[in-house]
Amino acid sequence: MDDEKNCTGPLIIALQYNDLFDLDSMSASTNTDDALPKGRAVTFIKAVQIVNERLVEQKETESLLFEVILIAKECSEEIKMKIVESVKYYGLEIGKFFFCKKEELINTLQSNKVKLFLSTDRDDVCEALHTGIPAALLYDQCDDHVLKVIISGDSIGFTEDSLDSLSDFGFSETQIETFKAAKICMKEFAVLIGQMRRRFGRENSPLCICVLTAWGSTNVCASALKTLRGWGLDVDEAFCLAGAPCSPILAVVKPHILWDCGLHNMRDLATQS
């Protein structure tokens, strides 16, 4: 199989600076010469860098690599400087920096052909999904050196009719639309990450892809696995919960990326740690 033809790398991931650095923990007494305190995304970037290293080890001219770009909305000049310095200080490989206004976020993402926008802010994720930009939640991950991605089996495995019937059970039109939009966006990302995953064997891979089916039956999960396989993504782990609570499982898996699709809009990740 000629992987060269399929590959349209690099896989560009966009992050926001307030996920990269924990500005809330800075107090008036913080020394302004120090680097900004680390946020959740730092562990994520380190894991991404390990995957890149392993990919390059296997093939020096590999073009399907992760590339991280950083977006900062509404920053003062001072903060802009601190961001660039802190990134250097922590040894984070960030391809580009974009300083823009709040309204320009979606445009910035679209014009840079971002393959995945990661944020801890659920509203940002939903907004991006709605405009067709693949977006997912940056979760409370573990320090493990394996980049873990969870894909929603429900959004891939459910049929259109079953989704529409959810309106009878208290889900709004907006939620259902976001859900449908997520499936379409997910495909491109799934194809790329599938190719990347195939560069490694089943064991000792620095990349681990999981499917989590929160409400669907076994058939929904089986359908999701087959669809993903058809897109070239061979999943490593699968969980089917049929309504059982998700959080205990997420606490064990501790993914970096969680394709949640906006139906759990009550959960506030910032309070979970």
Partner: protein, 363 residues
């Protein structure tokens, strides 16, 4: 409210609880929309959750051989190529079917209750093998809607996440880990001959010491001999024994049994429990019965063998599963067609047929 689950997951976070309710509502919606007559699975915190591994539910001996001789890649490839061929039944299969029968009866009597058996497939396999497992589950029409394919990771953390009451596997290391974490677990063995098992009643047999009870008395037998043991038991007749790893599972079965008694179905109860112990009724048996009574537990039939072999008696009982801590009894049961499950707990593990296994021999 139900107290079947010993570990209450405290959802003190309101938002978290709300999210869980949404998940539950969506699942309910999905199952009610399904055209098939498959019942939806119960809420885990009220249910008795049994986790079975793929090799106990299905017969994967041939596939296992491919894994051991040709490696992981070839194994996964083989499973994918035969995806649409259902696997054969494994040792836990009759047990799972019996659980489903009990659920049907419970749903008839208590249509709105979530106090049911919940069966989860807990396997180390990669998700790609999952499709064949799911196809096989559908082929036999088993009501297993929850599963966890860990792709090589240890399942122990997941057992707790799924609120497991009992874990059955063929892997002794995993079972030992589970017992150390306080989860009832056993290693399943396929019997050498097949027997005809009841299709209307779940029959579960337990050994006493080091299974339902702790191994404290077992230690006395091994270290000081039978006479000391009898004396000790007579003296401490009224002192309850400490709990063993399977006590909670017996308790969970008892709670479900009471639901049938409440509806006047005691004579036709689809769950029957047996105690099969080497103790003798006259001397050491009383302490056992008094201990059960002090725990508020009932066992339907208590059989005291006074040292006689368990095999022939088990053959008459025909349980769907028999739990014992000593391999000697497991072998005896297997030979005569009983589905046996080894509980690797307590001092019995260091002995073989009454003799201490010398660690030097292993070098």
């Amino acid at each position: 409210m139900s107290e079947i689950k010993q570990t209450e997951v405290a959802t003190t976070d309101k938002k978290e609880a709300l999210a869980e309710e949404k998940d539950w509502a969506a699942a309910k919606a999905h199952f009610e929309n399904l055209k098939s007559t498959k019942p939806r699975p119960p809420k885990p915190k009220y249910a008795v959750t049994i986790a079975v591994s793929s090799r106990t539910l299905f017969d994967m001996v041939a596939e296992r051989k491919i894994f051991e001789e040709e490696g992981l890649e070839k194994y996964v490839q083989h499973q994918q190529e035969h995806e649409n061929e259902p696997l054969k039944q494994g040792p836990a299969f009759p047990f799972v079917k019996a659980l489903m029968t009990v659920n049907e009866r419970l749903r008839n009597l208590y249509p709105d209750s979530e106090e049911l058996f919940d069966i989860v497939l807990m396997t180390n396999n990669h998700a790609q093998v999952g499709v064949r497992l799911m196809n096989s589950i559908n082929h036999y029409d088993l009501t297993i809607e929850r599963f966890c394919m860990t792709g090589g990771q240890s399942p122990i953390g997941y057992l707790e996440a799924y609120m497991t009451n009992l874990y059955l596997s063929k892997d002794s290391k995993k079972v030992q880990e589970a017992i150390e974490e306080g989860i009832a677990a056993a290693i399943m063995f396929k019997p050498d001959v097949e027997s005809q098992l009841s299709e209307t009643q779940l029959r579960v047999a337990f050994d006493g010491d080091a299974v339902l009870f702790s191994d404290e008395s077992e230690i006395i037998v091994k270290q000081h001999g039978l006479d000391t043991f009898f004396e000790h038991e007579k003296q401490h007749e009224n002192k309850p024994l400490a709990q063993g790893p399977l006590k909670c599972f017996l308790e969970a079965l008892g709670k479900l049994q009471k639901k049938f008694y409440a509806k006047n179905e005691r004579l036709d109860c689809p769950i029957r429990t047996f105690l099969v112990t080497a103790r003798s009724a006259a001397s050491s048996g009383v302490r056992v019965l008094k201990t059960l009574r002090s725990w508020g537990l009932e066992i339907d039939e208590a059989l005291f063998l006074a040292g006689a072999p368990k095999g022939p008696l088990l053959q008459k009982i025909r349980p769907h599963i028999f739990f014992d801590d000593q391999m000697f009894h497991i072998e005896g049961a297997k030979e005569m067609g009983t589905i046996a499950a080894h509980v690797p707990y307590g001092i019995g593990q260091k002995y073989n047929k009454g003799k201490l296994i010398e660690p030097k021999q292993q070098k």
